[in-house]
């Protein structure tokens, strides 16, 4: 998706390199670095509740970015993303429990294993488009979910499996305060990787496939290769996210990886902004914070006059689920380009203030 950034007068580009820079201005780069530094200080003043939410944003954000590369950048569709996320989680737990691979290595290994599975399920993508592809990925979701429930040796079956905490040189990242740094480092690395990928020849090819596959093919882009590759990359991100999830929660169960979770991933990238790396993170944050906020709201309502008047009682729990759905619909209606687009408009507004035209 083309980005409109506000460049100060006189700052013009003279090379392709400067045209594809990650940060359009020095200030924006400094702000990004400042943001990461501020995040580093979070465990000092945040309690475990808030940290656990930030960690969730971390591992879900990585997986969602994978989906955005597939859907937002390549124009494919997948409604089986949570199954790849789950595969990464189980693969990492399996590698560390059964093969004795240290967790620090099991996480990237899980990413690679998931890539292979992603490539396998991505093969139909070479031939299928749109709804047909969606249904093919739905099959991936069900096949993998069934595999998780049956493959006792790999997943512990329906009882689930324990995942050891990440330990580096005897230092265990087994608390939220410690794991926060793992999630943060992984997030930054994976996001930089994706940003750079999109600046390469391959990344541009993915976008070309999305924008007009026929033109892309005429230009010499191998559609089959790039479509399948996109599935592989997407699965790699899902696998890394899943592995981090496993070693954070220290328990993996098949119950977590439902089709609903896959839809939530789609929700994250749509709300954040399709084809926007920053938007993916914003969308993930939104989807993580929204249920918590709704939970707080339903708690406030519980026992009040509204509760008694509407005779909600036990149904108050459902109110939360329903309002999450409603907020998402409102977002899609009023903010179809996602949070990333809104953020750009806010920046533009202040840049031009008070002369908005």
């Amino acid at each position: 998706m083309a980005s409109v950034s506000i460049i100060p007068s006189g700052d013009y580009k003279t090379s392709y390199g400067s045209d594809t820079t990650i940060f359009p201005t020095r200030t924006s780069r400094n702000f990004a670095i400042l943001g990461v530094v501020l995040l580093l200080a979070c465990p000092a003043f945040m309690d475990r509740y808030w940290l656990s939410l930030l960690i969730q944003i971390g591992y879900l954000g990585i997986a969602a970015l994978g989906l955005n590369i597939l859907v937002g950048f390549t124009g494919q569709i997948s409604i089986g993303h949570s199954a790849f996320f789950g595969f990464g989680a189980f693969a990492s737990a399996w590698a560390s429990n059964s093969l004795g691979v240290p967790v620090a290595l099991a996480i990237p290994l899980a990413g690679m294993m998931t890539t292979l599975v992603g490539l396998l399920f991505g093969m139909p993508a070479a031939r299928l488009k749109g709804l047909y592809l969606a249904i093919a990925t739905l099959a991936a979701q069900y096949i993998l979910q069934d595999f998780f429930a049956r493959a006792d040796w790999f997943t512990g079956g329906t009882a689930g499996t324990i995942a050891e905490p990440l330990t580096i040189l005897g230092f265990a990242f087994d608390t939220d305060e410690r794991f926060f740094y793992v999630a943060l480092v992984a997030l930054v690395v994976m996001y930089i990787l994706a940003t750079n990928l999109m600046r390469t020849r391959d990344g541009r090819a993915l976008v070309a496939v999305r924008d007009h596959y026929l033109s892309a093919e005429i230009m010499g882009i191998n559609l089959t290769k790039y479509r399948t590759m996109s599935f592989g990359i997407s699965a790699f991100y899902a696998g890394i996210g899943g592995a981090l999830y496993a070693h954070y929660l220290q328990f993996v169960s098949v119950e977590g990886f439902t089709i609903l979770f896959s839809i939530q991933f789609l929700g994250m990238i749509i709300i954040g902004g399709l084809g926007s790396i920053m938007g993916t993170l914003m969308g993930t944050a939104f989807m993580v914070f929204l249920p918590e906020a709704m939970q707080a709201l339903t708690k406030l309502v519980s026992g009040t006059a509204i509760d008694t008047a509407l005779n909600l009682k036990d149904n108050i729990a459902f109110l939360r689920e329903m309002s999450i759905g409603l907020v998402i619909i409102l977002f899609l209606v009023f903010e179809p380009d996602g949070l990333a687009h809104r953020w750009k408009q806010i920046k533009a507004y202040w840049k031009l203030y008070p002369f908005s035209h």
Partner: protein, 426 residues
């Protein structure tokens, strides 16, 4: 623009209010109100919630109130674990947990042991009964897990012993055929091996297990399998909702099987929903009586019930009563702890070992006397076997049906399952 601004403002406000504040004695309460086991999860959670609210209304634990945080986790173990992580953090760390399902309770066993938080669950998995992890069946230590009732395995053992007798009494010829039924999920699977093993020892012919989902559906195929295999006794490992589907389907195809539900497999609501299909189903009951009984403890229960039913007219199923008993065992342990060093996890655990054959004050005649020791968390091994009796149309309310005698839960017998050391944690 104004709607968008409002959207953002609301989101910001909600985020600002989402931090939870604790005071007094924090207690976490995991409930399944919307998941696969919500049919029995809702009344059980209501029993726990009402009991805890009642305890607070009477001054709490020696004057300190309980700060209860009830959360519906939709019967998803990962959600329960992330919720637990929130509860077990920082200065507002919970002193005890009122939990629910088998998958989540078993997954949390290691965590609650490490954090020293007593977990009172609605799961009676035999794996949770071994506090030291020395059971010969490879059980893992579960030092902080407690539940009120016979374990799933012991309940099934009790029913199998009854079934073996029943077969003789009925004049059955040859080996009776036993089959384990349930979803492929930790909860129905928990007593599978223990049950099949004992069934073989008791002279049953054990058939391959039959699977059916935790949610209601069409289980005609499963019933035809039962019929073709000629099963005589079948254990229903799921909760009432999906069991009803099986009972109805089996009635339709004419499979004449003696069904044995587990503690969550049958109740008054299920008997009403299944109608004549529920007639004759046997199941173990955790409390000594049902709602309309005349025992001293029912007075307290009726008062507790008023907290969520001011009119005091609601009929409460057996699961509600079991929830109240569970909450009260925790309450009494906390009482002891507050007088002996403070309401901390290790002290609550210690308190659980102070009494023998113990019934919480005020619930006499309702809760069955239970004993926990630091080497054995099988609170009770006596299995009260009841039979659901449905005579006639079940169109009216449960209260009316029970009053009219259309639905009856009749006691058959009490089987004392031996407290064998080799059955610990299994």
């Amino acid at each position: 623009m104004s709607i968008r601004t409002a959207l953002f403002a609301t989101s910001a406000l909600l985020l600002a209010t989402s931090a939870t504040a604790y005071a007094d004695i924090p207690v976490g309460h995991l409930a399944d109100q919307s998941g696969a086991t919500s049919d029995v999860g809702v009344p059980y959670a209501q029993g726990v919630a009402d009991a805890l609210a009642y305890i607070n209304s009477k001054g709490g634990i020696n004057g300190t109130k309980l700060a209860v945080d009830s959360v519906d986790y939709g019967y998803q173990a990962p959600r329960a674990i992330s919720q637990y992580k929130k509860w077990s953090s920082g200065s507002d760390k919970i002193a005890a947990l009122q939990g629910w399902g088998t998958a989540d309770t078993e997954a949390l066993t290691g965590f609650v042991g490490k954090d020293e938080i007593p977990a009172y669950s609605g799961s009676y998995s035999g794996h949770l009964t071994d506090p030291t992890g020395k059971g010969p069946h490879g059980s893992k230590p579960a030092p902080y897990n407690f539940f009120y009732g016979p374990s799933y395995s012991d309940a099934l053992r009790g029913m199998l012993m009854w079934a073996a007798d029943d077969w003789k009494k009925q004049g059955g010829q040859g080996k009776p055929k036993y089959v384990h039924m349930g979803a492929n999920h930790p909860y129905p699977n928990a007593p599978k091996d223990a049950g099949e093993q004992l069934a073989k020892e008791l002279g049953f012919d054990v058939l391959p297990a039959v699977q059916f989902a935790l949610t209601p559906g069409d289980y005609t195929a499963q019933c035809l399998t039962l019929k073709q295999a000629g099963a005589n006794y079948a254990y229903l490992g799921n909760t009432a909702g999906s069991n009803i589907s099986v009972l109805k389907a089996c009635q339709t195809v004419g499979a004449k099987v003696q069904f044995m539900g587990n503690v969550w497999g049958m109740d008054e609501n299920a008997a009403k929903a299944a109608g004549s299909a529920a007639d004759g189903v046997v199941f173990p009951m955790r409390t000594a009586v049902t709602w309309n009984a005349d025992v001293p403890g029912m007075k307290t229960l009726k008062e507790i019930s008023k907290l969520s039913d001011a009119a005091g007219t609601a009929y409460r199923p057996v699961h509600y009563m079991a929830g109240v008993c569970t909450a009260f065992y925790m309450k009494e342990a906390m009482d002891w702890a507050s007088k002996n060093g403070g309401v901390t996890g290790p002290n609550i655990r210690k308190a659980m070992y102070q009494n023998k054959d113990w019934v919480p004050a005020g619930l006499e005649g309702v809760c069955v006397p239970s004993t926990w020791t630091d080497t054995d968390h099988r609170g009770m091994t006596a299995v009260n076997i009841y039979r659901a009796k449905v005579s006639g149309d079940t169109g009216a309310s449960v209260d009316d049906l029970v009053k009219a005698g259309t639905i009856k839960l009749e006691k058959l017998t009490t089987v004392d399952v031996p407290r064998k050391p080799e059955w610990l944690g299994w």
